[in-house]
Homo-oligomer: 350 residues x 4
């Protein structure tokens, strides 16, 4: 039985970890960490857990927790984990970080976009970017996993094969992404009040969203060179789900555009055995409702012969494949479990 601890268990991503780990037959949650609700019953914070979780919230003493756990999940504010993580902790247990602290290899890029000083840059190098379908082998031996961002997961997985196979030009990528509100977290802010979000659609973080450099770095590995993309996130009045609509210029070969079969072949080359990636049939496009509650990434595409572009689309549940689900998938890889253990969830509709 793997003993797990969660720091940040009362945020939405932390709560989703609880939901998933309760379904994981080889894991036991030992520590429900929450600064704001310390000593309060977890089920008093999340009523869905009534009679399912009897534990009381504990604090964020990572040192102490590392003695009781085999794996620690941190769903904490940016900069927090970097300020307390150390070799001793890593020597005792695996850490899967849902914050961005160890996602970006170039610490100056991190500090510029996050407006924070990184307190443990020496650990960045060993951290493995936990995008399971791309980095599975590297994840296996890791001590520290940088669990990818929600927009990032959706964007990279739907673009990666085409870029890697040279089917699209690297300078033409535009990502127009739409997210449900749970991505904004459970903090009490006027902007996230029901009446502010409901019956509204808006872009936010225009040109400044912190997932931009993360996407650029990862896609850069696929392209073999530095990338510059446009990424515009939007807030949608729904609880869960990310839909990314992506535009890129196709590379002609012998004066001809790639065909739909070429595109499909590229996706299949990388994903045909992937349990959690569903490449949709021609003419079918991803919808967030079809992945809700599950770890699936649905991917679709369409070639525009008129403009020479391809439209790629991806849909995920931001709290599952975009956060807690992928974290559990990483745990499964780390501990040698079946990668889908605890994640074989049929999407829930309506």
């Amino acid at each position: 039985m793997v003993r797990a601890g969660i720091i940040g268990a009362t945020g939405y991503a932390g709560a989703e970890l609880v939901r998933l780990l309760l379904n994981h037959k080889d894991t036991e949650i030992r520590w429900y960490g929450s600064k704001s609700y310390i000593d309060k019953k977890y089920a008093d914070v999340y009523g869905n857990m009534f009679r399912l979780v009897e534990n009381v919230c504990r604090g964020d003493d990572l040192e102490e927790l590392s003695k009781e756990a085999d794996v620690i999940f941190t769903a904490t504010p940016q900069g927090y984990l970097a300020s307390i993580l150390n070799e001793k902790i890593l020597s005792r247990c695996r850490v899967i970080d849902l914050s961005a602290d160890y996602r970006i290899k170039d610490v100056s890029v991190y500090e510029e976009w996050y407006k924070l000083e990184h307190k443990s840059p020496e650990l960045i190098k060993e951290a493995v970017y936990g995008l399971c379908e791309i980095n599975r082998e590297k994840i296996k031996g890791a001590r520290l996993i940088a669990n990818p961002g929600c927009y990032t997961t959706c964007s990279i997985l739907s673009i990666y094969p085409l870029l890697k196979e040279g089917l699209i030009t690297k300078d033409s990528i535009i990502i127009d992404a739409k997210s449900g509100v749970s991505g904004a977290g459970r903090g009490a802010k006027v902007n996230n009040l029901y009446c502010e979000v409901n019956e509204n659609m808006k872009a936010y973080g225009v040109l400044t969203h912190r997932h931009t450099p993360e996407i650029e770095e990862q896609l850069g590995y696929a392209a073999g060179k530095q990338m510059l993309i446009n990424f515009t996130p939007h807030l949608v009045p729904m609880n869960r789900g990310i839909l990314a609509t992506e535009y890129a210029t196709l590379v002609k070969k012998d004066g001809k555009l790639p065909t739909a079969a070429d595109i499909r072949a590229a996706y299949e080359k990388y994903y045909k055995d992937e349990k959690f990636i569903r490449l949709l049939e021609d003419g079918v496009y991803p919808e967030t409702r079809w992945v809700e509650g599950s770890n699936y990434v649905d991917i679709g595409f369409k070639i525009d012969e008129r403009t020479g572009r391809v439209i790629m689309m991806g849909a995920i549940d931001n709290l599952v494949k975009g956060a807690a689900g992928q974290a559990v998938q990483n745990m499964n890889i780390l501990f040698g479990f079946d990668e889908a253990m605890g994640l074989e969830i049929v999407p829930c509709f309506p």
Copy 2:
């Protein structure tokens, strides 16, 4: 041109006052009072007002405001107005209070339900309860109007005629009310976050909601004796609207229940000339969508021959007839304008 000031102009009720008064041809808003956004452009807080309101938010100096205004609207936290209102201010201008400070005549009842000490109980007596359709004549000469609560307006208006005419028993009244989220105000609270409210239905304030004594007092005037009712408010995932479903036992006459015609006659006796009360046709029941954005109260009813009860229903827009619209209606009465001035709004659907 009536000069108006609003204290609490950046809450939802205050913002609705702005929307309505901008449409009122004989009023000019001179003071946008907001403690939280002082010196900030009002249109930076409410983007809908961009290019419509150039003013900057001012504070809550009621004394100063009373020199510049003919009428002051206060949409402030409970207890606030009671703590600063005085004879000098009232001698200078009319005050229409959207808080509950002067709604309840018995100060001990107020203090018990609101858990507050009332700081100006001497002013309660002269305050007129601004339920326009019931208290129109008293409103005319008033200096201080206690603008009714949202649930209260909807509940009283849909029950009043039947109680007054003795068609229902006074001890049998149960009000099951449902409200959109704007009624909870614009404060940054976890409970009112989008993801907490969306896809959820709950009762709240069970047996403790402060509109209970207000409803009981007003219905008590109709019944001619003290009332005890059950009032249960619920939160509905929508922005605006209150629906009240009310149950009461019918009084038999000569062993017979009143007929639908009897009930209809009672409503018509009080409301047949009321512009803002729409008594629906038989078999039609109120829906909040049909009153959205408007000052209407839609009322319907159904007799249950089997149980001897009548089901009464009322629907209003909580921010209009339940707050700002009724406040403007009160202003119109106070200043001798056409009572509907600025309020002839066609409900907006969908």
Copy 3:
């Protein structure tokens, strides 16, 4: 492996059966029946099932199906099953009917409320009303289960113990219920369009809703006499969930009202070992979000000393405990499985 067939697999209740049965380790769905989508891939109708269900929809030949299945679930329009069910089919396999055809023992009551002639009244007698927590023993040997309605399940379970224990008067019960929109089914009707339902709250089926006689019959068994209740359903802009708020007059004993402890004891007498019924702590009231996706019934209550009434409240997911979940629970009882098999679902929030 139990072989299951579903008639009406493309409605919302049918689709929820599919979701749940895919998670049931001892069941295999052999037949996806759907008149409207015959010969179409099931996953083309419900995109969440892509790569999870490869089957093509079949028709509604119950005779044929009864040869291939051990259990048949029917989620069909009222009157349909009654018109085709017969002894031969029942002799071959168990039938769990999610429609109302066999719920009401008095065929004249059925025909009056449903405006239908019942085509197989001779089968009504043997049908067992599948409210698992109340009728568990009777269910065990049954061939034909009348799976309860959604409002009914929620209402009965939250009222039953108090009525059975004589704590409330039988003539005073008022049920004010609120439902998400999936309860209205997947038929293409203007009334259920997004823009008609969204941002709206309304009562419907006032005094005519067909769950009324079903609730009265079942509560009548608890009371030991015929019941007349008021039941008013409302439509709430959310996908799933039923909240029932119920009012009843408490029975005084020696001039005293029952205490909260008395009420709690009554609920615990019947439910303390029930896995799917969660009696909430004092001061906590049911919210639909806490049961979403799960088979739980959350129950809370509050005594009003002022009016002598008790307010009872229940919340369920209408598609799970209110339909497909209870159907699976019935199947588990019928086939001797652990009653919770396939239903140990952690509610999904947000």
Copy 4:
């Protein structure tokens, strides 16, 4: 008093025309045309109109209507008006068509995208494309106005000045648009049911949406040459509102990108006196909530120095500026009224 008739008065655009024209002091609606609800009271179809509209729905006899009206609004299915409009009708009264029948000058393009044969191609030439801010002068003398599409209005107005001033390249335009559900009309379709749309985000009509050629034609006039764009519409779970996020490559001058001031100057050149176009301040981006219920177009932009692109954004209420509001604006121009008459609506939030 202008006498107006509406064909298609019971669709959402038609109903919005009714809402707006009831507020228009110099217009009287004489004809509520609705094939589906003929002889039914209009207020029975739209409950918000109870006591505001006493009329009964009439049919679609355009000939007859043309004798009773000065202006006819047609909010009818594609191809319908083209099949019945003729010289006689146009000689009697002005026609403002909210369908697409006369929007596209090249009849073959119309027939290709709409898959319809155009039955009155001879009238296309004289039809004026009623995008008021661009074509005001041409509208003045017109007999037949082709009222623009909702996506089109939002997209063109937010791109036009930059294209016209040569600040962006014509081949680089990508429009990623998001719409509320009322744009899909009031037809009873499974796809538009509440549970199908709610808690979901999807693209639709990918590469095939009929507003594409309309946008291309109109932007082509600005560019002075034929355009090819990418246009991807998305469905958002909200009633009203369109948000268009548009990407284009900036044209360098002397090796330098245009500045924000350059972009702003371009917008102001065309719009500085436009009442209904609000160019937002730097760093502020359009949100649909701020225009709800009103005729405003909110426009914002941001230059990306890194990629050399500009992101343009526009927000409108699809039923007002995207349909009925612009139709009334066209009527005002046609009849010499103040262009804003009946349209001076403060956006309603929340």
